[in-house]
């Protein structure tokens, strides 16, 4: 599904990713862990096409298509979704209008007619229930005045609406209390299917107690330096990252 080979990427001339390789198949959950500044968020930005980052080398292929040729909106409409670490507030753009525009753009991309008002409302209602999201929130502007937890829930709500093939959850656990974490993780798990894949980017092992990964990768200094099963996450939790750094240094 996703094949990343020898990926180098930089921002403002500073190289952050230094030859990253990653392969994700349908149905899999990959966790990417690593200390601060190792390049985790850069990876999600580069996959989704953030124009602030420049890919200097390597390739990102999604379902046989070269992502670097595509604008962020095309990648999204191909089925890639990013749950932001810091969701952006957009004053004046209502959640309903935003979501309807996004859904209809996706349908246009797939050569489908615009969604009917009744279908749209029904789907909104279903997906809101999935993340236990308050009606009040969908009547407001996108993320405006949302608490940290509400913003993260809103990300998963949008993910549920758009039904991506590949979802990237960037530090979705940061700033969540234990109840919100359970709701968010529950939402992600319910959306899981053999056809879609998830990349969970996280600093801590906490979220991985709820979303069980098939693979765990350690990102350090712009490369994946260690990969393993879910036990690796436990080991990182117990021992921290220093031993990895030492292993790499040797």
């Amino acid at each position: 599904m996703l094949e990343i080979k020898n990926l180098h990427a930089s921002i403002n001339g500073k190289e952050i990713l230094k030859g990253l390789n990653l392969s994700v198949q349908p149905g899999e959950i990959h966790a990417i862990m690593g200390p601060n500044g190792s390049g985790k968020s850069t990876l999600s930005s580069v996959i989704t096409g953030n124009p602030a980052f420049e890919v200097t080398q390597g390739s990102i292929i999604f379902e046989g298509k070269d992502l670097q040729e595509m604008a962020p909106e095309e990648r999204a409409n191909e089925g890639i979704f990013l749950s932001f670490q810091y969701p952006v507030e957009i004053p004046g753009v209502s959640m309903v209008n935003f979501m309807r525009t996004a859904i209809n753009e996706q349908r246009k991309y797939r050569e489908l007619p615009p969604i009917s008002a009744t279908d749209f409302l029904r789907i909104m209602r279903e997906k809101k229930a999935l993340v236990e999201m308050d009606n009040k929130l969908t009547n407001r502007s996108v993320n405006e005045g949302f608490s940290g937890g509400e913003k993260k829930r809103n990300e998963i709500f949008q993910m549920a609406m758009l039904e991506p093939k590949l979802a990237i959850l960037d530090e979705t656990d940061s700033g969540l209390d234990i109840d919100a974490l359970r709701i968010v993780a529950n939402g992600v798990n319910k959306l899981k299917s053999p056809e879609n894949a998830t990349i969970v980017i996280t600093h801590y092992q906490r979220l991985l107690e709820y979303i069980i990964p098939d693979y765990v990768h350690v990102l350090y200094d712009g490369k994946i330096v260690k990969s393993g099963g879910k036990d690796l996450a436990m080991e990182l939790e117990a021992r921290g990252y220093d031993w990895i750094k030492q292993e790499v240094a040797v």
Binding site: P51, A52, R75, A76, L82, V88, I90, F98, T101
Partner: protein, 446 residues
């Protein structure tokens, strides 16, 4: 530049007076003397430093001092931008009130007077004499003085005590001529105690010539009266639109001004609202969408002369290409105007590096127990928000449009006529999509 007009006045002042309302002639010579002294405003004046009128005002324009009829049927010439708002509808062609009967206006309450200023001065001389020029002759301003010297007629509206209009009044100003042309008009609007009226002024141009429109509007809002003034400008690129709006509020009155420029050439809106009674409510807002070489200068003053009033000002600009915007927000709080609450915001988006915005909050506060704030920003569309929307599959152009539209939303929220708000939303969206780079039904702007 001024000389041709000074000569014209000296040679033809009796002709000008002959074709004007008598009440307007009483202050005419004094206005002329003031204009002769001041001339047209230049950028050397603090109040005009952002907008240079010289280039446009130095051209030759025809004036219709004999007030010959212009052959025009406004119902034909004008395609309404805001159909379906159910208004009482009136036209002014250049400076002349269009007299033809319109059944749409049959329901206008009998006590209300809407007509040309000239007719009002004949039929209600005391009423007009009581108000005419009370605000405008106090102004030390070259454009207002020029208007006082040359304006011969205008629009008149009188809403007597406790009469509340159920529908908005729509005044459509149409500029129409076969040669480069200048019109001066003086409008007078009077609301007595407890009256209520909404006025929507639409500015239009129909011929492919250069126009200068210099209008002065005086509005008197008595105690407990409510007045809403909407101005929607959709003129062509060869228009110089000079407008002075002077509003006086008495105690516990409520005024909303909303000035929207969708398309224009060079526009200068001077708006002054004097709060001369306690417990006034004032909301003044505006929006500018400009591209190409358009220029818009909103020069606003809110004068808190009495205590316990509340004013709120909000102006937003979206500028593209080599357009230029200017905003001045003068907020004056007199020494005894305690417990004033006055807020001002001006936010601007420049869509490229060549558009220019000048903004100047100007607070003069002489009272010591007040709440006042001001804020002005000039920026670009939020890149992070753009990226966020694009990751949801919304294409670049659409995301940009949504952000621009959202940016102007709070000005539209300040329109209290729902049908007008809906219509303006649509016009703004079309304008932002580039479908309204000229006015609807017009072929003049390229």
């Amino acid at each position: 530049m001024e000389k041709q007009y000074i000569d014209l006045y000296k040679a033809h002042h009796s002709l000008i007076k002959q074709h004007a309302a008598r009440v307007m002639n009483e202050s005419r010579d004094a206005s002329f003397a003031l204009f002769e002294k001041m001339g047209f405003p230049t950028t050397k004046l603090e109040n005009y430093k952002y907008t240079d009128l010289k280039e446009m005002l130095s051209l030759d324009y025809g004036l219709n001092v004999r007030r010959l009829d212009f052959p025009v049927d406004p119902y034909q010439a004008f395609k309404c931008d805001v159909p379906g708002i159910q208004s009482y509808l009136y036209f002014v062609v250049n400076d002349a009130f269009y007299p033809e009967y319109n059944e749409q206006n049959d329901d206008l309450p009998k006590e209300v007077v809407i007509c040309s200023l000239k007719e009002a001065a004949e039929k209600h001389p005391d009423l007009v004499a009581k108000y005419y020029g009370r605000l405008s002759t106090q102004k030390q301003d070259g454009l207002v003085a020029f208007n006082g010297a040359f304006a011969q007629d205008g629009f008149f509206m009188y809403v007597p005590k406790n009469v509340q209009l159920d529908r908005p009044v729509q005044l459509v100003n149409i500029m129409r001529a076969d040669v480069d042309f200048m019109a001066n008009a003086h409008n007078l609007i009077i609301l007595e105690e407890g009256a209520k009226a909404q006025l929507l002024v639409c500015d239009h141009t129909v011929d492919d010539v250069r126009f200068v429109s210099n209008r002065v509007t005086e509005v008197f809002v008595a105690e407990n009266a409510t007045y809403e003034h909407y101005k929607l400008e959709n003129t062509h690129i060869k228009t110089t639109n000079l407008s002075t709006l002077l509003i006086e509020q008495q105690a516990s009155s409520n005024v909303l001004g909303n000035v929207i420029t969708l398309h224009n050439g060079l526009t200068r809106n001077s708006i002054e609202i004097a709060l001369n009674g306690e417990n006034c409510e004032t909301e003044l807002c505006g929006m500018v969408i400009a591209d190409k070489k358009q220029q818009v200068d909103n020069f606003t003053s809110v004068l808190h002369n009495m205590p316990n009033c509340h004013s709120n000002e909000l102006f937003k600009y979206v500028l593209d290409d080599v357009s230029k915007g200017a905003f001045t927000g003068r907020l004056y709080v007199a020494k005894d105007a305690q417990k004033t609450r006055a807020y001002q915001t001006n936010r601007n988006i420049l869509l490229n590096r060549t558009a220019k915005m000048r903004t100047k909050p100007q607070l003069e506060i002489y009272a010591d127990d007040v709440k006042c704030s001001h804020g002005a920003t000039i920026g670009q569309l939020d890149e992070q928000a753009m990226f966020y929307m694009r990751t949801r599959g919304i294409p670049y152009e659409e995301a940009r449009l949504l952000l621009m539209f959202a940016f102007t939303a709070d000005v539209i929220d300040n329109i209290r006529i729902p049908a007008l708000a809906d219509r303006i939303k649509m016009l703004v969206e079309k304008r932002l999509r580039g479908e309204l780079s000229k006015c609807e039904g017009c072929t003049i702007c390229q």
